[in-house]
């Protein structure tokens, strides 16, 4: 399986999304799942290959610094698989009418394609293009709920999204002007000379804000609670769980390859801490389950930012653990919140008539709180031990904040559990829908599998982190030995 298959990862879903309306009759419904399965199959084949040697594809055989290059190491392979499978689980099986369903399915396919592209793209501009594609798809999906509230929330999301995209573009042009290239490997090579100065950092900050919108970075995440609360649970699960991780991955690529500077790390750390604080405490007062989950996802992503800010492979391992754990837990919670959304009073005593989903809800909450046997604990342990290894000051403050906010998190999450298992005869809570239970069941199964095989997964996680942290290998793998414009 040669490296040209990488191109299929973004290409297949995009192709399928446009061909979808042409496919006649019942087969149309199967187009989406099939393409996703294909992408998953590619990812699975890719995974063993990239363990030792990351795969590079120069599209159209243009020499790397010029054309578009796709680079896939073990992390991006994992994310490709994750994109395919999670989109499959959160696939829109039913719609109000045929036309609506077509639109939803094609948009979801575009989103999947864009995310796949983000995972494997090797140059800055390509990242920007796929990011914009994902943004547009998410605008469409978010507005899909057809309610007034959804429209307003999406409009605010569009405003912030587009403004930040301009910032990102400005940042990329700055970098291009400075270095003359957009290829990540080439940039990594030139960065120490050209970009490690205030101008470079400014560019990085602008790109950070740009990409930060989707990754719910603190300064630009005001849109998140409204969109997640009003959009369909499936869509919010997809956006909060999957797409935000891909944006985060892009930012981390930049950080690791081009700007491994302390200022950049501090920026990420500070914004991450603010994200945690604002997310957790805002969720403390939330009375609406979906809005509360939105804020808690902001907080979790803040924690991921803090984790990735830690220098060295330890930081990457912690970040990956937190991000992947959030990827598993949040979509499932959003699926459950589909029928159990709205105020807490409405779901009092829901555990009695849908005990399974209530049990799953409790399982996910316990994992998020970091109760030992579940993987949430190992993620939090890695994060905290990584932070503690750093010298005192800001790092330890971040650790303290994480510890304190977990207490707040426990209170508002247990408030929901208390409501579920409370006893109020005047309220008849809605029972769960089949798709929600099955979807969250799959996630729960994966979660428990990871919990029981935690000792076995420790090694591959470390290997991924080491491979990702090694920028020199990245450069060597992508670029030919001698390059114009670079003093030997």
């Amino acid at each position: 399986m040669n490296h040209s298959v990488l191109a299929l990862v973004p290409a297949l879903p995009l192709l399928a999304s446009f061909l979808l309306p042409l496919v006649p009759g019942a087969a149309r419904r199967l187009v989406g799942p099939l393409t996703l399965l294909a992408v998953a199959f590619i990812g699975l084949n890719l995974w063993p290959l990239v363990q030792t040697e990351p795969m590079v594809l120069a599209v159209g055989d243009f020499a790397p610094p010029l054309g578009i290059t796709f680079y896939a190491d073990s992390v991006s392979a994992l994310f490709v698989i994750a994109v395919a499978l999670v989109t499959l689980v959160l696939w829109p099986w039913s719609g109000s009418d045929a036309g609506n369903l077509d639109r939803k399915q094609s948009l979801t396919l575009i989103l999947a394609g864009a995310c796949g592209g983000l995972a494997v793209s090797g140059d800055l501009f390509n990242v920007y293009v796929f990011y914009e594609l994902a943004a547009v798809a998410s605008f469409g999906l978010a507005a899909g709920a057809r309610t007034a509230a959804a429209q307003i929330a999406t409009f605010r999301y569009v405003v912030i999204g587009s403004l930040c995209s301009l910032l990102a573009l400005l940042g990329i042009t700055l970098i291009y002007v400075q270095t003359g290239t957009v290829n990540l490997a080439h940039l990594a090579q030139l960065a120490p000379l050209k970009l490690h100065n205030p101008l470079g950092l400014a560019a990085f900050f602008m790109i950070l804000l740009g990409l930060g919108v989707k990754a719910e970075l603190f300064l630009v995440n005001t849109w998140a609670p409204d969109v997640y609360a009003t959009a369909e649970a499936r869509v919010s699960g997809l956006l909060a769980g999957l797409v935000s991780k891909l944006a985060l991955l892009a930012v981390v690529r930049l950080l690791v390859l081009i700007f491994p500077l302390p200022e950049a790390r501090d920026a990420l750390l500070l914004l991450g801490m603010l994200g945690i604080l604002s997310g957790e405490f805002a969720a403390f007062r939330a009375r609406d389950v979906k809005r509360m989950l939105a804020w808690s996802s902001i907080a979790q992503l803040g924690a991921a930012f803090v984790a990735f800010a830690i220098p060295g492979p330890a930081g990457l391992a912690a970040g990956l653990a937190v991000a992947l754990h959030h990827l598993l837990v949040k979509p499932a919670l959003f699926l459950l919140a589909d029928r159990w959304g709205g105020s807490l009073a409405q779901i009092t005593g829901a555990a009695r008539n849908s005990p399974v989903s209530a049990g799953l809800f409790v399982l996910f909450i316990l994992s998020m709180l970091g109760v030992p046997p579940l993987p949430g604990f190992w993620a939090k342990y890695l994060l905290l031990s990584g932070l503690a290894a750093q010298p005192e000051g800001l790092w330890w403050l971040a650790g303290a904040i994480i510890l304190l906010t977990t207490v707040v998190e426990a209170v508002y999450l247990f408030r929901v559990i208390g409501a579920l298992y409370g006893r109020d005869h005047t309220v008849t809570p809605k029972t769960q829908s089949a798709t929600a239970v099955i979807g969250s069941g799959v996630f729960a199964a994966v979660l428990l599998a990871v919990a029981f095989s935690a000792p076995l997964l420790a090694l591959p996680l470390n290997r991924m982190a080491v491979q990702m942290a090694d920028s020199a290998a990245y450069i060597a793998r992508v670029l030919p030995p001698v390059l114009p414009g670079v003093a030997p």
């Binding site: 400014a202 405490f281 031990s385 977990t406």
Partner: protein, 619 residues
């Protein structure tokens, strides 16, 4: 498959069985047999016994290992669980299930608690310790939340405390990992004392907060009373007897093994005047006195006993922290003693509730003629709780007093005795308002508690009496725990302590006491003439003709005189502190939420970018 694995697997199976068919009639018998088997295995287990299974996480081995200190606590846990299961199995359980509550969850939660505690007590390294710690607090939460509406509210109040404690311990774990590079307890014991003072202080603060919350030491004790009082019958007995002692297990590990008492004394706040060890001793002393005098004012028997549970834990910690042979033996023995009579007292209160339907001290009275055996259990229980001779409570308190005398700590000695006197006052109010005084008309027909409830109660009280008369039996295990902790071991005889400077021989004291009672009875029945039993209304009332419709009983505001003097001291300052914390939390939350409701996102974005760039450029 070592015997420790067998132990853990057995309790794991009981938990599953509990959740699966806890409401089945056969379950209590099964659980009882398994628990007794576990006790036998544990008692006969050669120490230290490493567990078979374990795994390695991120380069640190995670395994379980039982030593003398863990075994002492594990034996008490299994014993308390046995008594609770036996109590729940009988008629109490039927009525609990008939009342619409889920007996399976109760049995499952109870067995789950035992499993979690065994995991905690047998932990070989900090990660295993943390796993056991978290599971214990969440299993405890599950057990507390079974009792219905008020119990759920009390359990919800426990959640932030439990989580804060867990996070403090996790913080300590991570810090000790970074400083010493290892998580294995045996290595930590060598490395931790070597750390700098400020590091030890930080470790003490973090681990100490976590263990203090679980034990209910003074500033963080408010959650324990409603949570333990509102839990259903046998669950309260189990929680009251052993659950909060896991905090003491942590303290024992932390203070004596890791930081060692000598290093503890070096961590001084005001240049050598007031060391951390004094601080812990005084927190323990205040925890003895203040909850005891709060118990004095309670009008609900369950709350009174729950407050005493907090008070007595002060004795254990004080004994442990004094650290000399008699003091630590007293502290550890008090864990066992308190478990026996606290469980018996709580079970007797619930037996009374089973019959009269209430635990309110002002709506009972005169039940001694209707429930004599329950009265006997409560009587021996309160003698134990108050720490008076024939019962075992006296021995452990005597040891603590003796060590305070030898160490020369007059004020601490004064506080401990003040606690004992307060306990005597409040337990007399408990037994007087429940069993003595005028019997109410509606209680004339009630019967003695059923045998299924009486047997565990009587067994517990008999155990307390036997270990009171012959404390040597319990002191063997205490010596084992002292050795495991590295404390000086106290030489003891069967009757008590033999030392030239002041010995205690309970065999003789109790023997003489009962000889005295015998002579008293001889004098009373022999010398005195016949006496006739008279009705409660045939009573002196200043010439007034008593009739049943006028309630001729003194129970409300029982210590009016005392309350005139110390009444104003009850200002509820701890509750206000907790409320202030909660409102600060709400304020911060509303501020943060305001950030997300901002009207013009673009403006904030602009400001943010400008600030970011400025920061980036001029750093």
């Amino acid at each position: 498959m070592t015997s420790l694995d067998l132990l853990l697997i057995l309790s794991g199976l009981t938990t599953l069985a509990g959740f699966a068919f806890g409401n089945h009639r056969a379950y209590p018998w099964l659980a009882g047999i398994v628990l007794t088997a576990q006790i036998v295995i544990l008692a006969s287990m050669p120490l230290p016994m490493a567990a078979g299974f374990g795994f390695e996480m991120f380069g640190h081995p995670v395994g379980w290992q039982m030593d003398g200190f863990g075994r002492f606590f594990a034996l008490i846990t299994l014993g308390a669980a046995l008594a609770s299961v036996a109590y729940t199995g009988g008629e109490w359980g039927e009525r609990y299930a008939a009342g619409g509550k889920n007996l399976r969850w109760l049995h499952g939660a109870l067995a789950g608690n035992v499993l979690a505690m065994l995991l905690l007590l047998a932990s070989g390294d900090l990660i295993a310790f943390f796993i056991g710690w978290e599971l214990t607090s969440w299993a405890g939460f599950l057990l507390m939340a079974q009792g219905g509406e008020r119990a759920l509210r009390a359990a919800m109040r426990y959640v932030p405390y439990a989580m804060a404690g867990a996070m403090a311990v996790l913080g300590g774990l991570v810090l000790s990992l970074t400083w010493t590079g290892t998580l294995d307890l045996s290595q930590l014991v060598m490395l931790v004392p070597g750390l700098a003072n400020w590091k030890l202080a930080l470790l003490l603060a973090l681990f100490g907060t976590g263990f203090a919350i679980k034990m209910g030491l003074l500033p963080v004790h408010l959650w324990q009373t409603p949570a333990y009082a509102e839990a259903p019958g046998a669950a309260t007995a189990f929680l009251g007897a052993i659950s909060s002692r896991m905090g003491l297990f942590g303290f024992g590990l932390l203070l004596v093994k890791l930081i060692t008492l000598t290093r503890l004394a070096d961590l001084s706040f005001i240049d050598g005047l007031f060391s951390a060890r004094d601080l812990i001793e005084w927190v323990a002393a205040l925890t003895i006195v203040l909850p005891t005098f709060t118990a004095l004012k309670q009008n609900d028997a369950r709350y009174l006993l729950a407050w005493h549970g907090i008070g007595q834990s002060g004795y254990m910690l004080l004994g442990l922290v004094i650290g000399d042979a008699t003091g630590s033996a007293g502290g550890l023995l008090h864990v066992f003693n308190h478990a026996t009579y606290q469980a018996a007292l709580v079970l007797s209160v619930f037996a009374v509730m089973h019959r009269t339907g209430t635990a309110d001290l002002n709506s009972m009275g005169g039940l001694v003629t209707r429930m004599p055996l329950t009265f006997l259990v409560m009587l021996l229980g309160i003698i134990g709780l108050a720490g008076l001779p024939p019962m075992n409570g006296f021995v452990s308190k005597w040891l603590i007093y003796r060590s305070l005398m030898i160490e020369g700590r007059p004020l601490l000695f004064l506080m401990t005795v003040l606690g004992t006197l307060g306990t005597i006052l409040s337990v007399y109010k408990l037994i007087h308002n429940t069993f003595l005084g005028q019997l109410r008309a509606e209680h004339e027909q009630i019967r003695e508690a059923p045998w299924s409830m009486l047997v565990p109660m009587l067994a517990l009280v008999a155990l307390a009496f036997v270990t009171g008369v012959a404390p040597g039996l319990a002191l063997n295990y205490v010596n084992e725990a002292q050795a495991a902790l590295g404390l000086p071991v106290m030489a003891h005889t069967l009757g008590g302590v033999e030392s030239p400077r002041g010995s205690l021989d309970m065999l003789w004291i109790v023997g003489v006491l009962f000889a005295g009672f015998g002579i008293g009875a001889l004098l009373f029945y022999g010398a005195g003439g016949r006496s006739k039993r008279i009705h409660q209304l045939d009573n002196y009332a200043g010439g007034h003709f008593l009739s049943a419709d006028v309630r001729y009983q003194y129970s409300d505001h029982f210590y009016a005189g005392l309350m005139h003097r110390i009444g104003p001291l009850y200002r509820g300052s701890f509750t206000q502190m907790e409320a202030a914390l909660a409102s600060a939390n709400d304020l911060l939350a509303s501020l943060m939420q305001a950030w997300y409701r901002q009207a013009v996102p673009a403006l904030t974005l602009l400001i943010a970018t400008v600030l970011g760039l400025a920061w980036m450029i001029w750093r």
